[in-house]
């Protein structure tokens, strides 16, 4: 049945070369943990991607209940966490995933660094990787405010003070992020929400596409 369906589509659109080109590649021996267990260090990039997919999916579902409004944000999170079926699990995935993804991207970066995999010809992919790192931090920072509890509020307060300590343009950076030069309030929450849910994910997808296209063109580095 499924095979027939596939053949029907393939006959018309010739889709086999498309997925072959994406999926049908041999894994070199030196990156395969089945051959050398120490090759597990090559998994961290893929694990980062895996957790990112969890973040994106769980985040999409959280936005079905979450409202970025200072009167209601906390209550909406509390509701989705305690009343909504499996809400606790989905929020838990997003909450813990936010930390795990940072750990994974960090381990992946360490592997690339200590293997010297960033050297010619892969310099550009290192640069894209660093940008991905910044985007991840941005997602963590902006997401942390969203539950609008005390911890969220004061962590953001401190984060904004750090931004403000930049010479000359510090206050402008803070105002742009927070929506007000002094208040961390209604406008801060809507801004952080927009940045967290639209702007940074868009940047994330673009950078990830560039990252993966470059990997396919250049292949994986090594063996050492």
């Amino acid at each position: 049945m499924l095979q027939k369906l596939y053949d029907w589509v393939d006959e018309r659109l010739d889709i086999t070369p498309i997925w072959r080109d994406i999926a049908d590649h041999e894994v070199p021996e030196h990156v395969n943990p089945a051959h050398h267990f120490s090759a597990f260090v090559y998994c961290f990039g893929g694990l980062t991607f895996f957790v990112t997919v969890i973040q994106v999916l769980s985040g999409m579902f959280l936005t079905m209940y979450y409202v970025p409004d200072i009167e209601n944000a906390f209550a909406s999170v509390e509701y989705l966490q305690s009343q909504v079926a499996h809400g606790q699990i989905v929020r838990g995935m997003h909450h813990w995933g936010a930390s795990v993804v940072i750990v994974m991207i960090f381990l992946h970066t360490l592997r690339v660094f200590f293997q010297g995999a960033y050297k010619k010809p892969r310099e550009l992919n290192w640069v894209v990787g660093v940008l991905l790192f910044f985007v991840m931090f941005g997602l963590g920072f902006t997401g942390y405010l969203l539950p609008w509890d005390n911890k969220a509020f004061f962590a953001t307060q401190v984060g904004l003070e750090i931004a403000e300590s930049v010479p000359v343009i510090g206050t402008d950076i803070k105002t742009l992020l927070a929506g007000d030069p002094e208040i961390v309030g209604a406008q801060t929450l809507t801004r952080f929400f927009a940045i967290h849910v639209f702007f940074l994910p868009a940047a994330l997808f673009g950078l990830m596409a560039a990252h993966f296209i470059m990997i396919r063109r250049q292949g994986i580095s090594g063996p050492l």
Binding site: L176, P181, A186, Q187
Partner: protein, 169 residues
């Protein structure tokens, strides 16, 4: 042939230029109002500061007292009363000083003489310290003195305005 047409624009070039120009113009027309929206907070005029009654001048002592007061606050579409705190006292020169409790390191709340910090303001977050005048003590994290509120005295009553930074040290 190509020599004759040297300084002529080919059809292809002409199309490239016009399409890039028109496309760029359309792109800019689309994006510039959006950017304007995003930077609006930078363009807003700073709100004038009102002065709020806080305490009677006769009650001000040499010992800093912690006083709370509320200030009407406008945050975009959200209007509220914001609770503020000041450490209010007379300095050795008998001048009134009202200090903001917001640490100039990373914004925690400082306390007067908490723990064993006699005659000092102390910030528990990273052990920031300020002397009696609210001036940051060298080799502790804060980089500037505590901000001081603008104040006004009318008929024996103390009114506070905005907390102003007092220069880095």
């Amino acid at each position: 042939m190509s020599e004759k047409k040297n300084n002529q624009v080919s059809r292809r070039q002409f199309l490239n230029y016009t399409l890039t120009g028109v496309g760029g113009f359309m792109g800019a027309a689309m994006v510039s109002p959006m950017v304007g929206m995003a930077v609006d907070p930078l363009l807003q005029a700073e709100g004038s500061s009102d002065f709020q009654y806080v305490m009677d001048v006769s009650e001000i002592t040499q010992e800093p007292q912690r006083k709370s007061f509320t200030v009407p606050q406008e945050d975009g579409w959200y209007e509220s009363e914001s609770e503020q705190t000041a450490w209010i006292y007379r300095t050795e020169n008998d001048e009134i000083l009202a200090l903001s409790p917001v640490c100039t390191h990373l914004g925690c709340t400082v306390d007067w003489e908490s723990g064993d910090h006699d005659n000092e303001f102390f910030c528990p977050c990273h052990n920031g310290r300020y002397d009696r005048m609210g001036v940051n003590i060298a080799d502790t994290p804060p980089t500037a003195p505590l901000p001081a509120y603008e104040y006004r005295v009318e008929e024996g009553k103390l009114y506070l305005g905005k907390a102003q930074p007092r220069g880095g040290a």
